[in-house]
């Protein structure tokens, strides 16, 4: 895909984040969509391309009253929205549509109008994972951690520092769910969820949503907000079964998606001013830093523990507070994208001064899928 041909011209989250007991999941989609439409200065009738995940595109498009000429229902977990951005950029360039709306919403906490996720007994997961006691992401996502720690020499304290540093960012964000400072001792003394991970190393469970609007860079100049250009993109999938990952030392999907995006963007790691790595659990930023090529995996734990990713550090990471402290409705990728867009617009609560390039990396399922979007505010 060519660089900087498509831009984000509308971006918004739901009016409220956290616990939203008065809205169903589809209404959260609509709330985010209407906020994004307003942000872009558009009408819903201007939208001719639509993408969403979990819910089908037809369900949300009809609820919103949109009749698109292009749809994408890619649903590969929490990074689905990174893939939507990539696919939408290609579709706009190909002339299949002009103005794309991407929505995410999840009533993850209040569970209103949300279908439970179930694993059929005759699926491969149902036969070869479910009988051994996996029960939701906390019991599955951390399964690779002990092997990763042993291979790369990562310590429990370093993995605790991920949560500590992200709370420092969250403290600067009025919309963050958890803002009170925490220490490594707080993390290591919090309730055990699935050894080696404790409560403060697991993502929040909240309600919310977000929406993005993309159009061609040429049209983007006429919109009220500063355009945020798509500089590079990547995607991949590996396996829906965490036990069947090729290795626990890294993520194959990360190692495909990340470098693809860097190559397309034509940038090096030194060019990155701002970084988002989807942190459903505390090990993900370490996998991301290694698999995206910022440094060898062996150095990732020390890099974070030494404060390089904290406010004022040389590589600001997860500046909204992340899934650990900002919010996590179940598919957090949309919120990582929103924070990258805010940083590129220069309006983030914890704004990185003069940030020009933002890398936004997402995971889907338990390392099942991955999407990377690189944004810039300079064309």
């Amino acid at each position: 895909m060519r660089r900087n041909q498509v831009a984000v011209v509308g971006a918004a989250e739901t009016t409220e984040l956290g616990v939203i007991p008065n809205m169903s999941q589809i209404q959260l989609h609509a709330d985010a969509a209407l906020n994004a439409i307003e942000d872009a200065g558009l009408k819903l009738s201007d939208i001719d391309g639509f993408a969403t995940a979990v819910e089908t595109p037809q369900q949300i498009a009809h609820y919103l009253g949109i009749t698109p000429t292009w749809v994408d229902g890619t649903s590969v977990g929490g990074c689905s929205f990174m893939l939507h951005v990539r696919h939408a950029a290609a579709a706009i360039e190909a002339g299949l549509c002009k103005t794309v709306l991407i929505t995410h919403a999840e009533s993850g906490k209040s569970m209103i109008g949300k279908q439970p996720r179930s694993i059929p007994a005759d699926s491969l997961q149902g036969q070869f994972e479910a009988p051994f006691g996996v029960y939701g992401p906390p019991s599955m996502f951390p399964i690779p951690v002990l092997r990763f720690m042993k291979t790369h020499g990562i310590t429990h304290e370093q993995l605790a520092m991920v949560a500590v540093v992200q709370r420092e960012w969250a403290a600067r964000n009025p919309r963050a769910t958890m803002k009170d400072p925490i220490t490594v001792a707080d993390v290591l003394n919090s309730r055990m969820i699935a050894y080696p991970f404790r409560l403060l190393q697991c993502c929040l469970v909240t309600d919310g949503g977000g929406a993005l609007i993309l159009t061609s860079a040429e049209r983007a100049r006429d919109f009220p907000r500063k355009p945020v250009y798509i500089l590079g993109t990547g995607e991949s999938v590996e396996t829906p079964m965490v036990s069947q990952m090729k290795t626990f030392d890294s993520s194959c999907a990360f190692k495909v998606a990340g470098p693809l995006a860097f190559k397309e963007a034509g940038i090096t790691h030194k060019d990155v001013d701002h970084l988002m790595i989807y942190d459903a659990f505390a090990h993900l930023p370490l996998y991301g830093l290694g698999d995206l090529g910022f440094m060898p995996h062996e150095e990732t734990g020390k890099f974070i523990a030494d404060g390089n990713t904290r406010p004022g550090g040389k590589l600001p990471l997860n500046t909204n507070g992340g899934g650990l402290s900002y919010m996590h409705s179940g598919m957090y990728g949309m919120y990582a994208l929103q924070e990258s867009v805010r940083q590129m617009r220069g309006i983030a609560p914890a704004q990185v001064p003069n940030a020009k390039i933002s890398v936004c990396h997402g995971v889907g399922g338990m390392f099942a899928a991955s999407g990377t979007i690189i944004f810039t505010n300079e064309k």
Binding site: I119, P120, A121, D122, L124, G126, Q127, F128, E129, A130, P131, F132, G133, V134, Y135, G136, P138, S139, M140, P142, I143, P144, V145, L146, R147, K150, R191, M192, I193, A194, Y195, P196, F197, M241, S243, Q244, F248
Partner: protein, 137 residues
């Protein structure tokens, strides 16, 4: 009221031989006749070279502890926390999820790379699960 039961696998035509094997006290894997790749989970073709000529064989049932979590909450139906969910690397190469029995469910007892051997646990008259215990000797 009966206690909630552990999730029970439902075999498909492609996996039936595996579950027939565990019932018969064998851990069955598949090997590609063309490229010798050994793979899991079961399927009637090689995921490495796409050959449909594959053969089933009885695996050694031996392996090592590749990684695990000790799950505290929420517990799956049929499990009493804390319990370990393990990934075992078989000597033949493939990895599979399982549980480690006859061993304290603690970080001290569950040492990465410890040797394990298969143990068969019947759930009912149709399904027997392949679990693992610390290898003897």
């Amino acid at each position: 009221m009966a206690e909630a039961a552990r999730a029970k696998p439902k075999p498909t035509p492609e996996t039936q031989h595996f579950w027939d094997g565990t019932k018969a006290g064998e851990l069955r894997l598949q090997r590609c006749d063309a490229c010798a790749n050994v793979y899991f989970p079961p399927r009637p073709f090689c995921p490495s070279c796409a050959s449909r000529k594959v053969s089933m064989f009885k695996a050694s049932g031996r392996g090592r502890l590749y990684s695990y979590v000790i799950n505290h909450r929420p517990a799956a139906p049929g499990f009493t926390p804390p319990y370990a969910i393990a990934v075992v690397e078989l000597d033949e190469g493939p990895r599979m999820m399982s549980n480690v029995i006859d061993c304290p469910q603690t970080p001290e007892a569950l040492e990465l790379d410890m040797r394990l051997e298969v143990a068969f646990e019947p759930l009912d008259d149709k399904i027997t699960l392949p679990l693992f215990r610390p290898a003897k000797g």
